[in-house]
């Protein structure tokens, strides 16, 4: 019995020792990204992590998250240190406010020079000290040309009674209120409660015409022509169009939302230089081009478009709109908790059809 116990103890000790004794020569970084948000070598696309490991000898621990919020709570609870994260614009702002990001040393990121000027010094990181843009995308109107024959150039199309019961709408308050705000000519980052109340009234008008409030289900409903018109992301429109050629995309004249997903280094990172080497690698035009082609989002590096295998996609006006169209785009910033909560309450009232008095 004693022998058995001794053997067991030895194995435990050896195992624990081994967990700590990973080769001291290689540097390892922990990368935390959205799921399905990097080229993995599927269908002959680029395997970004593998290429980076081969080129630099730095090992990558790659794990994924499902939303900005869950990534934030994982950072907040502690117990794991990440070297590279991919938060969206408003989340970068929130992380900066809470002092959770490291300043990036841009001397180690020479490839930052390739990033287009309109993506430098963005509203969420005005001095551009903490973030490097990874991808960007837009919200616009997706419609089926078979049923929607009138020209679509305004958000008003989503309020058109002719399409009653065939309209889909965003199932999240920020995007839904954003559309109403563009229509009413408000600032999409307003903190004024009466503005939100006006949006609530506008969205309530639309409710009887809406088939369903959806997020991911939109793919099936639009591809199968169960719905005719809906607001959604441009990158996802390109995916839908592969299945259904009748679908088209419009950038509304009132303006539309665009978003940037950035790359940042969180506080508590262990290998800052290796993390910066990773960011620099991602900003390499060739890597950025091939990677963005694989994941279907647009690259903020114009030079990267040359490396697209599908040259049509690189010049697609939906993925890369012209300068005049881009001028109408506006970005969400981080709002006060109080405003977000009020918007949330009003949103629930819109969806359930209950009447709310103005505060």
């Amino acid at each position: 019995m004693k022998k058995v116990f001794a053997v067991l103890l030895m194995t435990v000790i050896v195992l624990t020792a081994c967990a700590a004794c990973s080769d001291p020569g290689t540097v390892t970084i922990n990368v935390y990204n959205w799921g399905q948000y990097i080229g993995v070598g599927e269908e002959g696309t680029i395997d970004v992590i593998k290429e980076f490991e081969e080129k630099t000898g730095i090992r990558v621990n790659y794990t994924t998250y499902d939303s900005n919020e869950s990534m934030y709570s994982k950072l907040e609870i502690g117990g794991s240190s990440y070297d590279v994260i991919f938060p969206s614009d408003y989340m970068v702002e929130r992380l900066i406010e809470n002092d959770m990001l490291e300043e990036i040393n841009f001397d180690n990121i020479p490839n930052f020079q390739y990033v287009d000027d309109e993506f430098k010094n963005p509203a969420y990181d005005p001095t551009n000290a903490y973030s490097v843009p990874y991808t960007f995308g837009y919200v616009g109107i997706i419609y089926n040309t078979k049923y929607v024959t009138k020209p679509v150039d305004s958000w008003n199309a989503l309020w058109d009674p002719d399409y009653s019961g065939k309209i889909l709408m965003f199932d999240n308050p920020r995007d839904a209120f954003g559309i109403a705000q563009f229509l009413l000519g408000q600032d999409i980052n307003t903190e004024d409660k009466s503005d939100y109340y006006a949006c609530y009234q506008k969205l309530s008008e639309q409710k009887p015409l809406v088939q369903e409030y959806v997020m991911d289900q939109i793919f099936q409903q639009m591809e199968n022509e169960e719905a005719w018109i809906a607001p959604y992301y441009a990158g996802d429109f390109l995916t839908m169009q592969e299945t259904n050629e009748n679908l088209a995309f419009a950038f509304p004249k009132e303006g539309y939302n665009y978003f940037v997903d950035a790359i940042c280094i969180p506080k508590g990172c262990k290998n800052k230089e290796a993390a910066e080497a990773f960011i620099n690698f991602i900003c390499d035009p060739e890597i950025s081009g091939k990677n963005c082609e694989a994941i279907g989002y647009s690259t903020p590096i114009s030079a990267a478009k040359e490396y697209y295998e599908d040259t049509e996609l690189a010049s697609n006006p939906v993925a890369y709109p012209s300068k005049e169209v881009f001028e109408r785009a506006d970005m969400f910033t981080n709002l006060k908790d109080e405003t977000l909560q009020y918007a949330n309450e009003l949103w629930l009232a819109v969806k359930s059809g209950t009447k709310v008095e103005e505060e």
């Binding site: 799921g35 399905q36 993995v40 794990t63 117990g79 794991s80 099936q220 299945t243």
Partner: protein, 267 residues
């Protein structure tokens, strides 16, 4: 009435297996659509094997499931033997204590384990506490009560005089455990181990709170597929997992059935 019984049984099986059948069918679909079946293809199966990232995560999930089920089976059996020889009062007290984690909602277990690990991590000055070890400990924790619960009845069913007789005839307590008790309670141990393995394999909620930067499992990866619709390779992976587990259980039950038939003839 008999006819009604039959219909009812069929309905129950449809209810149980329809979702998994749909998944299997669409793993063979030639396009990414999950509504129209446009044609038969094996290309997603080929593609899965060009996805080392998914296969590595599957491997991680299996490693955790195997180690967690082995460890919790050993610990659980030891605990069950100990509990069975307790006095009635202390036995019921200990059993209640081991059953509570089982009735606890997963999310409570997950959050409390995460807090404990972070606390222990800061105490021991480990920055990267979340990872392989925390996942393993968490999985052993939630598997343990199930093993105890499936071994304990087997010990109760056993004739206590058997071990006494073995001791009388010169066995040491260790020998009597391995030669007499273990073969008697083996079915309980096996069903406990199977239970622990499957529980560990498909756990998501608890793992979600304790996975780390260096080690993650398949369910967590799949859950994070929010940016784009679910790719068919995932259906393929699930189909393969389902088939393997189905065959495993099928052959295990077949073996047991044959054994029990043989026993009857011997008698």
């Amino acid at each position: 009435m008999k006819k009604f019984n039959k219909i009812f049984t069929v309905l129950v099986y449809i209810f149980l297996y329809a979702p998994i059948l749909v998944l299997i069918v669409f793993s063979f679909n030639s396009t990414k659509s999950t509504i129209d079946f446009t044609g038969f293809t094996l290309k997603w199966y080929r593609e899965l094997f060009t996805r080392p990232d998914l296969l590595k995560l599957l491997m991680n999930t299996l490693i955790i499931a195997v180690i967690a089920s082995v460890v919790s089976t050993v610990l659980g059996t030891m605990a069950a033997v100990g509990i069975s020889s307790m006095k009635r009062r202390s036995r019921s007290m200990v059993l209640t204590a081991t059953n509570i984690p089982m009735t606890n909602p997963d999310i409570v277990t997950g959050v409390s384990l995460a807090l404990l690990f972070v606390f222990a991590g800061t105490f021991l000055r480990i920055n990267d506490v979340f990872g392989f070890w925390t996942l393993l400990i968490a999985h052993i924790t939630f598997c343990l009560p199930y093993v105890i619960l499936s071994v304990l009845p087997k010990i109760k069913q056993m004739d206590k005089n058997l071990t006494d007789a073995a001791l009388d005839l010169g066995c040491t307590p260790t020998q009597s455990f391995f030669k007499i008790m273990l073969p008697e309670i083996l079915p309980g141990i096996i069903s406990g181990a199977t239970m622990a393995f499957t529980l560990s394999l498909d756990d998501f909620v608890i793992s979600y709170f304790v996975y780390g930067a260096s080690f993650s499992t398949l369910p967590i990866e799949i859950y994070s597929y929010t940016k784009k619709p679910m790719p068919p390779t995932v259906f393929v992976l699930f189909t393969i997992m389902f088939t393997v587990i189905f065959l495993l259980l099928f052959f295990m039950n077949m073996a047991e059935y044959k054994k029990s038939k043989k026993k009857k003839i011997d008698l």
